[in-house]
């Protein structure tokens, strides 16, 4: 309840001089704190950047190793592909040579290529045609040649020609 005709003045512990001094010190402390905070931030940022760079270098090293491995693998694949290509070329050439050996009067129904041999299935009008026109060149290529015949319905002969190359001892 208010009894007085007037209200009391606001009381403050801060006099004008004290306010001035406090303001000055506040600004100084604020600036010091600001500088300190700025330096802390920059320090933190520097440490963070350094850690990032270290991490990046580590990642790059890992990546480099992986890339080297991949290059090595690709080189191996390349060599393999070249080898396969060469083998295929050789095989293709061999096949072409093989099929060049087969005369027109003999018809092949199946050919099996083995590592050290060749098995041919086919039809021949008679044994002579086979012996003179196919077996003779096969003997010149393979070391062992075996032939077997059995008659077909139309009077021709079906044959199975099995041919092997003997592996050289010095290769072993």
């Amino acid at each position: 309840m208010k009894y007085s005709y007037i209200k009391p003045r606001k009381k403050s512990i801060f006099s004008a001089e004290l306010k001035l001094v406090l303001t000055f010190f506040s600004i100084t402390i604020f600036m010091l704190l600001g500088t300190y905070t700025f330096l802390l931030y920059k320090d933190y940022k520097f440490i963070e950047d350094r850690a990032d760079i270290v991490q990046q270098r580590y990642d790059l090293n890992i990546s480099l190793t992986q890339m080297k491995e991949e290059i090595e693998f690709i080189e191996k694949q390349n060599l393999l592909s070249q080898k396969i290509y060469t083998q295929n070329s050789v095989l293709k050439e061999s096949m072409r040579n093989l099929f060049d050996l087969v005369p027109q009067r003999i018809t092949l129904s199946e050919a099996l290529l083995l590592d050290n041999g060749l098995i041919l299935y086919g039809i021949t009008p008679n044994k002579d045609v086979y012996n003179f026109m196919l077996q003779a060149p096969l003997r010149s290529i393979f070391h062992k040649t075996y032939s077997s015949f059995y008659p077909d319905k139309n009077g021709w002969l079906r044959f199975v020609s099995t041919n092997y190359i003997e592996e050289r001892e010095d290769e072993n």
Binding site: Y3, S4, Y5, P8, K11, S12, S15
Partner: protein, 339 residues
């Protein structure tokens, strides 16, 4: 919240200023942790704020930022009215140009608005925080008696008397009476006859022949004065710890000149009170009740004649209690702050 903490750490300095007729009393109270740690009182022979007074006050208020300067309203145009209702206030007093406060939603006290400005200008160098009405001071001082009595209450200051009539905390009437010191001598001449009549009364002269008693004809409406209770109901009051009837006794031997001045003042006060009471009884605006008792807050040390005037001329039971105006003012300031 922070200001509260700071406030509790500092001492509070209460400065109370009461302006008298030719001097000013300044009381400084240093208050801390619910107690008055120290107090200093000084009386300055000026009614204005001079350099000595300013230095005295500044010496103590510089000890703490929490200082409160209280001033006792001594304006001419002040008083109290028996209502707080804004619609009824104008019935008793024209409040244009006045500031007023309501006391416990029962009655109001007011003062001149320009007076407050003048006080604030007067105290502009040291400032002023509280201006209290003497009626508020009186009500606070006699709060134990006002609560359950029908009586007149007086606050005696050097240059004024604050008069109020309360009936069980309800204000019936009040008036701020100013002593006219310039006309004192005229009053004395007018009263010579009365003084002589008083001396003759002791020799057997009929009291009804006194001029003053003639002014109290209206009191006849209230019954036989002789039937009035003359003190049996006030035994409790006498047994209380109050300092009552501590007026100047005959043991004191002031100089004749001083005694003469006191007598003049006291008689003028008595005359003003008598006129005011007549006004109270006659004016229909106020709810008249017959007054048997009068409680006096004596702030200056009135003479025993004053009591005698009231008792013998107005047939009142008079109870006087000494009051230290500056200390009461400081306690009002603390009450305002809730301390």
């Amino acid at each position: 919240m922070i200001s509260r903490i700071f406030e509790s750490l500092y001492i509070k300095v209460f400065v109370s200023i009461v302006v008298g007729r030719a001097d000013t009393t300044v009381l400084i109270e240093l208050y801390s942790k619910g107690k008055i740690k120290n107090s200093f009182e000084e009386v300055f022979a000026t009614t204005d704020i001079d350099e000595n007074m300013r230095e005295f006050i500044l010496l103590y208020i510089s000890e703490s930022p929490f200082y409160y300067i209280s001033f006792l309203d001594d304006s001419q145009n002040q008083g109290a009215i028996p209502t707080c209702n804004k619609n009824k206030i104008d019935f008793y007093q024209d409040m244009s140009g006045c500031s007023y406060r309501c006391f416990k939603k029962r009655w109001s006290y007011f003062t001149d608005h320009d007076y407050i400005y003048s006080i604030e200008r007067k105290f502009q160098h040291i400032g002023v925080d509280y201006i209290f009405s003497p009626f508020l001071l009186l009500a606070n001082f006699f709060k134990d008696k006002i609560a359950d009595n029908l009586a007149m209450f007086l606050l005696i200051e050097e240059k004024s008397v604050s008069l109020s009539v309360f009936n069980n905390s309800e204000l019936l009437y009040s008036e701020h009476l100013l002593l006219n010191t310039q006309n004192r001598e005229e009053l004395m001449y007018e009263d010579v006859g009365t003084e002589m009549d008083e001396s003759l009364e002791e020799d057997g002269i009929d009291l009804e022949e006194l001029d003053i008693i003639e002014e109290l004809d209206s009191l006849e409406d209230f019954g036989d004065i002789e039937d009035l209770d003359t003190g049996d109901d006030f035994e409790d009051f006498e047994e209380s710890h109050e300092i009552e009837e501590d007026f100047h006794t005959q043991d004191e031997t002031p100089s004749n000149e001083v005694k003469s001045d006191e007598l003049n003042d006291d008689y003028e006060r008595f005359s003003l009170i008598q006129k005011s009471i007549n006004h109270f009884y006659k004016d229909d605006k106020y709810e008249s009740e017959f007054i048997e008792n009068i409680y006096v807050a004596d702030g200056i040390g009135i003479s025993s004649d004053f009591k005698k005037y009231l008792e013998e001329e107005m047939f009142l039971s008079v109870y006087i209690r000494q009051i230290d105006l500056t200390r009461e003012l400081a306690s009002l300031a603390r009450m305002e702050m809730g301390l």
